[in-house]
């Protein structure tokens, strides 16, 4: 099966032979693609069924919670940390980003952009929390407790003195430009690095 477009971008961008921690690795789909190109990939995942599936695929995955268990990894244990579609579900995204850049000098962080025009319109005209392709769950049962926009994220890392080495913005499965991202990106992927 083809990788989700945001995962494909990350899989492409990670150099082979890198050491990588995939935080919120699900059933190990991205790790499998990474290991196929020689990356030493390990995972952290909260859902035991996903962990079981990933271990059954031969991946190294630890059941744990990104809010707490990143503290168990030593400084610079990895070359890259990956947090894909998970930032908005964490209790304190700012601290999680800090942890990612403690255990690795660089991190990929991807999240759905809450300022996409469809979300803005739904809120503006409908007056209700939007339910979209990337945010498919109603407000009361969504795991996304910290909705974030491309601009919010840029502000956060700017305030923390974190550098951006690359960014990709997806509208549907197609890339969109940096300038249009705030409105047009459904999904953003940042490669950030310690300042």
């Amino acid at each position: 099966m083809a990788l989700r477009p945001d995962l494909a971008i990350i899989a492409d961008a990670v150099p082979s032979s890198a050491r990588v921690l995939d935080v919120g690795c699900g059933d190990g789909e991205l790790m499998e693609a990474l290991r196929a190109k020689g990356v030493d990939a390990r995972g952290l995942e909260i859902d035991p069924a996903n962990v079981t599936a990933a271990i059954a695929r031969g991946q190294s995955v630890v059941q744990g919670d990104a809010n707490r268990d990143l503290a168990d990894y030593p400084d610079n244990a990895f070359d890259y940390a990956i947090l894909s579609q998970t930032l908005q579900t964490t209790e304190r995204p700012d601290r999680v980003v800090g942890e990612l850049l403690r255990i690795a000098p660089r991190a990929f962080v991807s999240f759905p952009n809450f300022a996409h025009w469809r979300v803005r319109l739904a809120l503006l005209w409908g007056g209700r929390m939007p339910v979209t392709r990337l945010l498919p769950v109603a407000w009361y049962e969504t795991p996304n407790i910290h909705h974030v926009t491309v601009s919010d994220f840029r502000d956060l890392i700017g305030a923390k003195g974190i550098g951006v080495e690359a960014a990709w913005y997806l509208s549907g499965d197609k890339p969109t430009s940096d300038a249009a991202a705030s409105w047009r990106a459904e999904h953003a992927i940042f490669l950030i690095a310690r300042g």
Binding site: P48, T52, I55, S60, V61, V62, D72
Partner: protein
Amino acid sequence: MASALHQIQHQSVTIPAPLPLDSGQSLPSVTIAWQSYGALNADRSNAILLCHALTGDQYVASDHPATGKPGWWARMVGPGKPIDTDRFHVICANVLGSCMGSSGPATPDPVTGAPLGMAFPVITIGDMVRAQAMLLDHLGIDRLHAVVGGSMGGMQTLAWAAHYPERLGTALVIASAARHSAQNIAFHEVGRQAIMADPDWQDGNYYDKFCMPTKGLAVARMAAHITYLSEAGLTEKFGRRLQARDIKSFGFDADFQIESYLRHQGLAFTDRFDANAYLYITRAMDYFDLAEPHDGRLAGAFAKAKDVRFTLVSFDTDWLYPTAESRRIVQALQSVGAAASFVELSAPFGHDSFLLDVPALDRIVAGALGAGF
């Protein structure tokens, strides 16, 4: 009973080299009984060492010679099973100190020919592992694809990774811990005191006597058996149901099904286990603490094991070796940079879950052993 047990012939080898023990004593030679399943491949790279639990034995997937019952992990080990004997050469050795053919308290004194009894030196998990390494040397197997074990078998697996990290690729540790807790030691002490309080124990010199300390050993087993089950499991299986009667007897018969079940488990155990072996092996487990030689830092034990791939599994209803103990191991492994997998599985059977039907465990075992092979 024990005499019948000790008349069983086992496949074994006596290695004439001395085995130095953690206690400072040493065994002049060591006998190790073992079973193997599946063929060893030409480059000797497909061997898996399976480590058994406290009252387990080498008859992993074959009928038990004393009870005739199927092997204790027959559901996991065999052709096409998660530990696939069409692919792997699986070796299981009776642990040092046990009673199924390996050196232990029933071993004859080389001078007098009488069973050693309590003159057998106290052994440790580390000593068991050293004896297994001697067996592998004898078999000409330098490196294991994997070491696998549940409960005390998991402790041996961890000790393998700590002492011989270059000799294994994968360590699979199920429902285990890197140390015995005060509670673990406490339950074992109850069992040992039950054995030693039995007048037929006779300071361990019962092998040539008519009476064996079966009552004490049965009580030890009853107490231990409770620790292998979950409260919810016991409630579901037995509740407060009465055994073969409609009303309480107002006496001390086994009125409740749980009493009858435990009495049966205790008694049946004495057909297949030796009381002195139970003392020695429980002691070895109580002495187990991998962090102790490293000033209490467990990571120190794994300093050279960062190239071993670890998989740890705990069960949510296991209160004997709870998830926190597995997590402690995972944290130590992460701090040395070893590749570690860990999952807490949900299963209703308490500590015994590792022996029972838990499909997720089968998938994890197959995946952990298949990786990189």
